[in-house]
């Protein structure tokens, strides 16, 4: 699969038909990532957006040397990942989904020893640890044990550790999963600052707002394949709609109503998920009132209506017919 938006400048991450098949003792083997081709440009935040099980984490695993590809190739910073994992590890910083902080060490020591692993001398690592704690607003927790940290702080420390050795590429796997909204915003700010400093970031997420807010380009993934790859704005424009209407039908008649509304003139697309019918209107200003009337004419009662601009989630639903959260 090749994309019209394939980067023209030298890509810092490139994959070619990258595939991972997990053999299973019971039942058929699972193709987690299926002939993936992508390129990430220097300095961009590139998002892999998809539901759980789409193959995002496996993709990151292969790019960060922890998962051995079944076939295909991957290059990070020009280095073939499977041929030279050590050279690859020198160029990347990784924040996995769960906390891999060293719980036998304090907050400060986590950073200090990370610096030492990556070749810093004692003095250099000490300074880097101090500065990084300051920068990530964790200086007052320097001597704390890892288990004393809140989820948000632990996540900040993970990112601080991952960038301590100034990697060319930072991988963030579901960086805000499980965080409260406030910590999530704080983390977005951190990621934004790193981006402003020119850090190349590949992040995975199943939060469409996160992909929308943070990413320069987004690849929408499902079943190990890329369904679409572009800037969030272009992806949303591709829907051909300016308004997303969410209607909750009375009596849970979601499928019936969706079927009925498909015939509405002015609907670019209709989907039914999660007890809600979503209608993408080409022109919301003139279409909304007529749409409601159309539903009423079909004999459908309505308990709730909401309108928004089409989101990346709408793009995903439009591509797959299912909800991101499913």
């Amino acid at each position: 699969m090749s994309h019209p938006t394939e980067p023209t400048i030298e890509a810092v991450i490139r994959t070619e038909a990258l595939t991972k098949v997990y053999a299973s003792k019971s039942g058929p083997s699972v193709t987690a990532v299926d002939h993936l081709d992508l390129g990430v440009r220097p300095g961009e935040i590139f998002g892999l957006l998809g539901p759980n099980g789409a193959g995002k984490t496996t993709t990151v695993g292969m790019l960060t040397t922890r998962v051995v590809p079944t076939s295909g190739r991957a290059w990070v910073g020009g280095v073939d990942v499977t041929a030279d994992p050590v050279a690859t590890k020198l160029m990347i910083g990784v924040v996995p989904q769960v906390s891999t902080l060293d719980r036998a060490l304090s907050v400060w020591e986590n950073l200090y020893f990370h610096g030492r692993y990556f070749g810093m001398g004692a003095r250099e690592a000490r300074r880097a640890a101090d500065e990084t704690l300051e920068r990530f607003r964790l200086a007052d927790r320097a001597d704390a044990e890892i288990l004393e940290l809140s989820g948000g702080m632990a996540q900040r420390l993970m990112i601080a550790r991952a960038i301590l050795h100034r990697p060319r590429i930072l991988f963030l796997d579901e960086p805000t999963a499980g965080l409260d909204p406030q910590s999530r915003l704080a983390l977005w700010e951190v990621i934004g600052e790193l981006h402003a400093d020119g850090q190349t970031i590949l992040l995975t997420t199943h939060y469409m707002e996160e992909a929308d807010q943070l990413c320069d380009r987004v690849a929408i993934m499902d079943h190990g394949r890329i369904l679409a790859l572009d800037t969030p704005a272009t992806l949303k424009r591709s829907l051909g709609a300016d308004t997303e209407v969410r209607i909750t039908p009375d009596g849970g008649r979601v499928q019936d109503m969706a079927h009925h509304l498909e015939r509405f003139d002015g609907a670019q697309g209709v989907s039914a998920t999660d007890g809600v019918v979503r209608v993408y209107l080409r022109d919301g200003k003139t279409g909304l009132a007529r749409l409601i009337a159309h539903a009423d004419a079909g004999g459908f009662g309505i308990t709730d209506v909401g309108i928004t601009e089409p989101s990346l989630e709408a793009v995903f639903i439009n591509l797959t017919g299912k909800d991101l959260r499913e």
Binding site: V68, T82, P85, R103, L105, F113, Y117
Partner: protein, 291 residues
């Protein structure tokens, strides 16, 4: 195609011959040496922070064994190994055995226990394996770190084994044997810890202590010289699968004049077990880390 063959094919395609273990070269790069050393320094720092716990788990068992068998028993006239010369023989024989137990016990404690959480739910191990060195080198680091802690445990146990028994302990030092047996025994213990920690499921580790470690120490010729098992012929041969036998007998050879297994047998088995367990541990580690 097996995984190995696939990897070899990929390497060939990338213009690089397959070299057995990925990243294995004739000589490591400077960065790899630095990273390896840093991993060890990290372990030493953790040991420093938890030194009291380390002391307690090192000392408690041998202290109690020496106290009960070599102090209380002779005092109350319930001899182990008889009285008089027999008691002296027992406390002398016990000293190298206790050192052996301390070495093995500590090697397993120092390597296996951390692996339970490192391979557990959070996969903390991914922090260590993202360090810029080959995965197998991280595993070797674990063995080395375990060996260092085993050696330290041996040193700590010596005074207890020497001075607590109520009957005198006869030390007959063979330096050459000591400086060869001790490091081998310590590396073997670290490798054993890695093999257990990577081949058993994290949830099984507590059970492993009960059904492997305790029998190992009880049947490891720690509390009696192996030669004396002549009286129970089948047991004498059955216990040879236990690596602690060779460690206890090795220390017996190095520290006492008590009859011991042949030096050839001791060194052969120590080297053999070290290689075998290292291979089992390192390959188990790699298998666990790589998906």
């Amino acid at each position: 195609m097996t995984t190995t063959e696939r990897r070899a094919a990929r390497r060939a395609e990338a213009g690089q011959p397959y070299r057995g273990w990925p990243g294995l070269r004739a000589s490591p790069t400077k960065g790899e040496v630095v990273a390896f050393r840093a991993l060890l320094i990290r372990d030493v720092q953790v040991l420093r922070k938890t030194f009291v716990a380390f002391l307690m788990r090192t000392v408690t068992q041998p202290l109690l064994i020496v106290f009960v068998f070599a102090y209380v028993f002779p005092k109350i006239g319930q001899g182990v190994g008889g009285s008089g010369a027999g008691a002296t023989l027992f406390s002398t024989s016990l000293m190298p055995g206790l050192i052996g137990v301390a070495v093995v016990f500590q090697g397993i404690q120092a390597v296996t226990i951390p692996l339970v959480s490192e391979f557990g739910y959070t996969r903390e191990i991914e922090d260590r394996v993202m360090a810029p060195l080959p995965i197998w080198a991280v595993a070797v680091g674990k063995i080395v770190s375990g060996a260092i802690q085993s050696g330290l445990a041996a040193l700590i146990v010596v005074p207890f084994a020497l001075w607590i028994p109520s009957t005198p302990v006869h030390v007959d030092l063979n330096w050459l044997a000591l400086v060869t047996v001790a490091p081998l025994a310590c590396v073997l213990a670290g490798a054993l810890g890695l093999a257990i920690g990577t081949r058993a499921e994290p949830g099984q580790i507590p059970m492993v202590f009960g059904i492997i470690v305790i029998p190992m120490t009880m049947l490891g010729a720690a509390y009696y010289p192996w030669e004396r098992l002549d009286a129970i012929e089948w047991l004498k041969w059955a216990v040879l699968i236990n690596p602690l036998i060779y460690i206890s007998e090795g220390f017996r050879m190095a520290l006492t004049d008590i009859p011991h297994m042949s030096a050839f047998g001791i060194y052969g088995a120590l080297v053999g077990f070290t290689i075998g367990l290292s291979w089992l541990g390192i390959s188990g580690f790699t298998k666990r880390v790589l998906a």
